[in-house]
């Protein structure tokens, strides 16, 4: 948050609704009964657009305006929550009443005076949607389509999309928080279908971040996505059956960091650990991964898709070391879970929108660099799988079981990459698999900015990353033998 952000938020959210800081203060004051620990008001307005090209034509465009206010009262482990898509005082008051109803009636409590802390903005407040004209957006999609099609005659279908969000949020809380953020988020996706000798396959690529659309024009990024999608589909046209069974697995750098997100990330979110429902509960200080693993969640990396200048409770984001050399150091927290566990907040309180309750969520989660040359890691494997790119993943945080699926993978035989294999799901157990990470490369990179994480029905943008690494044993779910 900067003073400028608060000014923008005041202009966008408060003035049109004839609200001001003193009214927010009164609303919060009215909610603070004797057993309410905390209350907050979250105002948000967002504009979202998308353009889609298919059959070489941009024939679909969408524009959405969303705004509203969410009001929350917290009493110990209890939360009362209500929201309204009208930002007007009566709606705010009635939401506040509904949220407060979780507490017993009593004297109104006190709220702290506003603490307007300025934190550095990690991204531009410029409107990401308006840096290009509609014509320029369409030209960009056409160029991507042409680039993909000219790579190979096997390309039969190209679907390219560009989407952007411009969002203004303001958080006012009983602990004195009064913070605002102006958030851009753009994304581009290219997906292709190729056909050769009667066989069809798909490939896709994309990227983005908390930047404007200009990002896609720089360094030919948009055209790069087209080339990458085609490269992937051509690899897959030659793919043979994936093997079935347990074997060593080398995961490439960047997006394969989905491994960390699933195998440890969710299990280290504060809410699960407060409730004791995670396989990592009560294990701070214990060895939960091999000594090669240092896992970090960092919401404060400039312009990244998973980054936020402040989280959705007004806490500035920071770099949190979750696991250091295999030892569990920290959970990710929002205000409620940090208070109940008597631990510091970590800037991980996030929500999909005003209509959703905040909870501890990841931002950009990655594994720190190790010492190995990636080639050396591949060479060390006698027979195994090399997964260069993944689809999505999923975890059961209670049993620790996690899965992810490959979208580009190869067999490694006698230390050499031999042939591409079809997509397969890999399954493991979080703490066990992390203890089997035996080599970590020196080529750490973050993903290109395409991640969406879902938890309890709420989707938020996230980032992942890692260097090349070797897991000594994971179960590969192919059909071959």
């Amino acid at each position: 948050m900067t003073d400028k952000h608060l000014q923008i938020a005041t202009q966008n959210l408060l003035i049109p609704a004839e609200l001001d800081e003193s009214i927010l203060s009164k609303v919060l004051h009215s909610m603070m009964g004797h057993d309410i620990d905390y209350a907050d008001v979250y105002l948000q307005s967002s504009r979202h657009e998308s353009w889609v090209l298919e059959d070489s034509l941009v024939k679909d465009g969408q524009y959405n305006i969303e705004q509203g206010v969410g009001v929350r009262a917290v009493s110990g482990e209890k939360t009362g929550f209500a929201y309204s898509d009208e930002i007007i005082l009566p709606a705010l008051t009635s939401a506040a009443d509904a949220a407060r109803a979780i507490a017993r009636q009593g004297q109104a409590g006190s709220i702290r005076s506003w603490d307007k802390r300025a934190v550095p903005a990690l991204y531009t407040e410029e409107d990401p949607l308006s840096v290009l004209s509609a014509d320029q957006k369409i030209q960009l999609l056409r160029a991507v389509d042409a680039e993909a099609r000219k790579q190979d005659p096997a390309i039969k279908q190209v679907i390219a999309s560009i989407a952007g969000v411009h969002e203004v949020v303001l958080v006012a809380a009983s602990d004195g928080t009064l913070s605002a953020d102006v958030r851009p988020l753009v994304r581009m996706n290219v997906s292709v279908i190729a056909e050769r000798d009667g066989r069809r396959e798909q490939g896709s690529a994309g990227g983005g971040g908390r930047v404007t659309y200009n990002y896609f024009l720089e360094e030919e990024r948009a055209l790069g996505y087209a080339r990458e999608a085609v490269r992937q589909v051509l690899v897959n046209l030659d793919a043979k059956e994936a093997p079935a069974g347990a074997m060593p697995v080398v995961l490439g750098p960047g997006w394969p960091g989905v491994l960390l997100h699933e195998a440890v990330g969710h299990g280290l979110e504060g809410d699960f650990n407060r409730k004791g429902s995670s396989v990592f509960s009560g294990r701070i200080g214990e060895q939960v991964a091999s000594k090669h693993c240092t896992v970090i969640d960092d919401g404060s990396i400039a312009q990244r898709r998973g980054s936020l200048s402040m989280d959705d409770e007004g806490t500035p984001t920071q770099k949190n070391v979750l696991i250091e050399k295999g030892i569990l150091k920290n959970y990710m927290q929002d205000k409620q879970n940090a208070r109940l566990m008597n631990l510091p907040v970590t800037g991980n309180g996030r929500r999909e929108s005003y209509a959703h309750m905040p909870m501890p969520r990841m931002t950009n989660t990655y594994l720190a660099n190790g010492d190995y040359d990636p080639q050396e890691i591949i060479k060390s494997v006698d027979k195994g799988l090399y997964a260069v790119n993944l689809g999505g993943g999923q975890v059961d945080i209670t049993s620790g079981k996690f899965v992810f699926s490959t979208s580009e993978a190869y067999m490694i035989e006698k230390g050499k990459i031999t042939y591409p294999v079809k997509g397969a799901t890999l399954i493991g157990n979080g703490p066990e698999s992390m203890n089997l990470v035996s080599m970590v490369g020196n080529d750490m990179s973050l993903d290109t900015g395409v991640g969406v994480c879902g938890k309890e029905g709420q989707s938020v943008p996230v980032g992942v990353g890692q260097p090349t690494l070797l897991v000594d044993r994971l179960t590969v779910g192919g059909t071959g033998t």
């Binding site: 209500a82 939401a95 509609a134 069809r200």
Partner: protein
Amino acid sequence: MSQLIKQARSGDPADFNTDELKNIVETMLGEARLKGASSAEAGLNIETGLSVTVRMGEVETVEHNRDRSFGLTVYFGKRKGSASTTDFSRQAITDTVQAACDIARYTEEDEYAGLADKDRLAMTYPDLNLDHSWELSTEHAIEIARQCEDSALSFDKQISNSEGGYLTTHKDYRIYANSHGLCGHYFSTRHSTGCTVIASKSERMERDYWYSISRKHEHLDAPEDIGKMAAQRALQRLGAVRTKTQRVPVVFQAEVARGLLGHFVRAVSGGAQYREASFLLGKLNESVFPERIRIDERPHIKQAIGSAPFDSEGVVNTEHDIVTDGILQSYVLDSYAARRLATQTTGNAGGVHNLFIQHDGKDLAGLLKEMGTGILVTEVMGQGVNIVTGDYSRGGTGFWVENGEIQYPIEEFTLAGNLADIYRNLALVGNDVDTRSSLCTGSWLINEMMIASS
């Protein structure tokens, strides 16, 4: 700021002013026409509700929701633009119409674009008896959620922890209107209760859940029974072991078999067909299932969770077969896909409503008997489903079965095959039909799949 409708009390749908809402939609279609649109369609949706969760006997969350959205698509000849808003002020709605029109100035002509043909529209439509409001206090909602969780927690001392019991009740009002003169609208309600609990033994934990959902709250299962079911399911997972890599027959329990039916719908949907992105590409009138299999859609079942009086572009939806005698009779189409494929819409804009696969009269135990030795799958994980190629590879949890009897729980394995083969090898469909969603199926026995484990 001028408001077209007044704020209802949270969770109280009594304040819906349907005339005013219809008026908004009609006005906006009129504005689109004034701005030069040759045709237009608009949808408006309002949902109000209450959700409560109780964890370890204590209230955890109480949430009142009221969601609104208004969306408009305009056509300028064969050019199209769409916009939506949650802000119902006059200004915001006018801006939304303008935004849709602005987009349509830039999009390119698509010869297949446009409203559904007028003669297919549901100018009259049935009352499907979907609206059964539940006048219940927050305290009562909490009490039901608590009973559900308590029944699970007290079922066995190995049920050691809980992610909570819940109750939700929602009321939804939907309008769809277009410039052919259709203005269809209906109310519906949805009530659900359930819980997720954790069983533990020797420092290992397993969680599982159960829930009930209905249009009418009187039809919900008793909270005690739901809790018991959740507890039993979590307990049964304790002591799971790994299995070996092997080819074996597999029974997918009904909730998991639903996913396989869903993949079939995606593969025969118009989008996957006209984009030539389906492993069932061009399979119309060809055999895709064994000869016994019939799959049909029944969109108008009274009170059913998946029912709708018309599809999301206002088209009449009717009972029809998608698969008869194992042969694909029809794709799943909206008007756009139908035009691309030079055929007629099947009334499936927005998806399918109550799809049923005919069962073979045997219950789950009967399927296991028929299987003899193999795996009963109770949960699948991950996104390893490729509709373009049919390649299927997912994580699984379940039980090892011998001589038709469950032996012990197994975990951390994958199931792989090709969906085209899975459908061809569908040996039996159970009569344990799960009707909690739009895809209604019993358990499936598949002759053989590849299992990987360590």
